[in-house]
């Protein structure tokens, strides 16, 4: 078995990165109190997250070639983080509604649009990403980009209000008594796009 040592060494590096990435994401979930584990352990999990971050080279300067290489490798091989779809729980889904105000004073409502049914899950993922972004300027920028595509469908709009919220699903008991899903508003942004200049384009 010629070269078996090299194969094993390569596997060792690859698997270490895989396990470190998995640990980091798991520790992040545990450290943020999303699980049944006691709150007193949160600091421990946050420390674990920091250790795994270091193992993945994430504590090095961004310009460090080792960091750049390791991050690129993990992203390229699909091992940049743990697979945790719907773990530890199923989160609420986010919804974005556009309130299009025309110059005449008329108001229309619109939603982000997709062409393919299979893209519905992608749109849902995107809205979840936007909704969970804690950094307010980035969240606003993403909403603005989404609103811009709506403005292209309504070029005569004077203002578009983007309302981001989440859908509160009824429990089985509530659903039995006839309760439907409700929409809770989290943020609202007003955008004005000028057709003649690029200054307002995202």
């Amino acid at each position: 078995m010629r070269g078996s040592f090299l194969y094993l060494a390569a596997f060792g590096v690859h698997f270490s990165l895989l396990v470190a990435g998995t640990f980091r994401d798991t520790a992040w979930v545990l450290g943020h109190g999303y699980t049944l584990l006691p709150d007193s352990l949160e600091n421990f999990w946050k420390q674990t997250e920091r250790v795994t971050e270091a193992a993945l080279g994430r504590t090095l300067r961004n310009s460090n070639p080792l960091r750049q290489g390791v991050v690129a490798y993990t992203y390229s091989s699909g091992i940049e983080g743990a697979y945790m779809f719907f773990a530890p729980g199923v989160p609420s889904s986010f919804k974005l509604v556009f309130e299009v105000h025309n110059a005449s004073g008329a108001v229309e409502y619109d939603l982000p649009r997709i062409h393919e049914p299979a893209s519905a899950v992608r749109l849902s993922t995107l809205l979840d990403y936007v909704g969970r972004t804690e950094y307010a300027p980035l969240r606003e920028l993403m909403v603005k980009v989404l609103t811009y595509s709506v403005w292209q469908r309504h070029p005569s709009a004077s203002t578009i209000r983007a309302i981001l919220g989440y859908i509160e699903e009824p429990t089985p008991a509530e659903a039995r008594s006839g309760k439907k899903e409700s929409y809770r508003v989290l943020y609202a942004y007003d955008f004005t796009f000028a057709p003649s200049t690029d200054s307002d384009t995202p």
């Binding site: 078996s4 992203y75 773990a87 992608r122 990403y129």
Partner: protein, 311 residues
């Protein structure tokens, strides 16, 4: 120390038939084709830059660059094609067509190595530039394509072997790459299972309820789910057992077949009840390639045991 090294060699380089690779290659080819067809109508809008896109690709690529500027992205392709005088929309369409072609070649096993590299690279570019709208199916497909690209291609069912007479690589090499895929799946299921176990919703059926009623996965009418609500905690706990127990029971000869069938049924059910067809397909392909080839190809079973004895 020497004993340990021999043990590792025995575990990692056990001779294996190349049929696992046939499943992986064909399955990933099919996955790429289905992906391309399912996303065609939104492809350009998902990956376009500002002004013409649904969500700006530039935003996703800026976030990507904050992580590493070496991560492949669609921006590289459009910039390259721009030098040849090809506009962005045409470049995106060309990228889509190239990915579809790579998927077709992969499923046929023609120019397997080159096709697998192209498929991996183009899929990675699309998934990372559209990362804001990417989900589990994309990550799993990248994992599969990455392993396929470095695996000892071609396999016996590929046209490369049948028509172009390319030889099949050593059985121990197949054993190694298959083992890596097997271990990776174990990590995926175990981490997913353990994290689910720590959430109260998977024990009392709440997570199952939410998964089935949450848009856009709400395919089954609520009335039907309500009529079977007593089963929700049972199904939730069954998923916990299946995922957390995967790294143990998939290795034990007596339980492997049952565990594999159960996991495949779980993914089939996810596809049918939640509409996650792409995700289900890639998970079924990865599981069959890692642990199912003995059950799918009876002829290779005896060959594998002979090869193993020889080793």
């Amino acid at each position: 120390m020497r004993h340990l090294y021999h043990g590792l060699q025995k575990f990692f380089f056990a001779a294996t038939s190349d049929t696992w690779l046939s499943i992986l290659r064909f399955g990933l080819g099919l996955q790429v084709i289905v992906y391309c067809i399912s996303i065609r109508g939104d492809w350009n809008e998902l990956l376009a830059t500002k002004g013409s896109g649904f969500i700006s690709r530039e935003l996703a690529e800026a976030i990507l660059s904050a992580n590493s500027f070496l991560i492949p992205r669609v921006g590289w392709l459009t910039s390259l094609l721009h030098l040849l005088g090809i506009g962005e929309q045409a470049a995106l369409s060309l990228t889509w067509a190239s990915l579809l072609l790579a998927g077709l070649f992969l499923s046929a096993g023609l120019f397997s190595r080159v096709s697998s590299i192209f498929a991996w690279f183009l899929y990675l570019c699309a998934a990372k530039s559209g990362a804001l709208a990417a989900y589990g199916a994309d990550q799993m497909t990248i994992i599969g394509l990455f392993y396929l690209m470095v695996s000892p291609l071609p396999d016996r069912f590929s046209l490369d072997h049948r028509l172009r007479k390319y030889p099949i690589k050593d059985a121990w090499l197949h054993g190694f790459f298959r083992r890596v895929l097997q271990l990776h799946l174990c990590v995926i299921y175990f981490s997913s299972g353990v994290t689910k176990c720590l959430g109260v919703g998977w024990w009392n059926g709440a997570s199952m309820w939410r998964a089935l009623t949450r848009p856009p996965f709400n395919i089954i009418p609520v009335d039907i789910i309500l009529s079977g609500r007593a089963l929700l905690p049972v199904v939730g706990i069954a998923i916990l057992v299946l995922e957390t127990g995967y790294p143990l029971f998939i290795w034990v000869n007596r339980t492997r077949f049952i565990w594999l069938i159960a996991i495949l049924c779980m993914h089939l059910a996810i596809g049918l009840t939640m509409g996650l067809y792409l995700f289900s397909l890639i998970m079924i392909v990865l599981n069959l390639a890692a642990f199912g080839s003995e059950y799918l190809f009876r002829t290779s079973n005896s060959e594998e045991s002979v090869s193993a004895q020889e080793v």
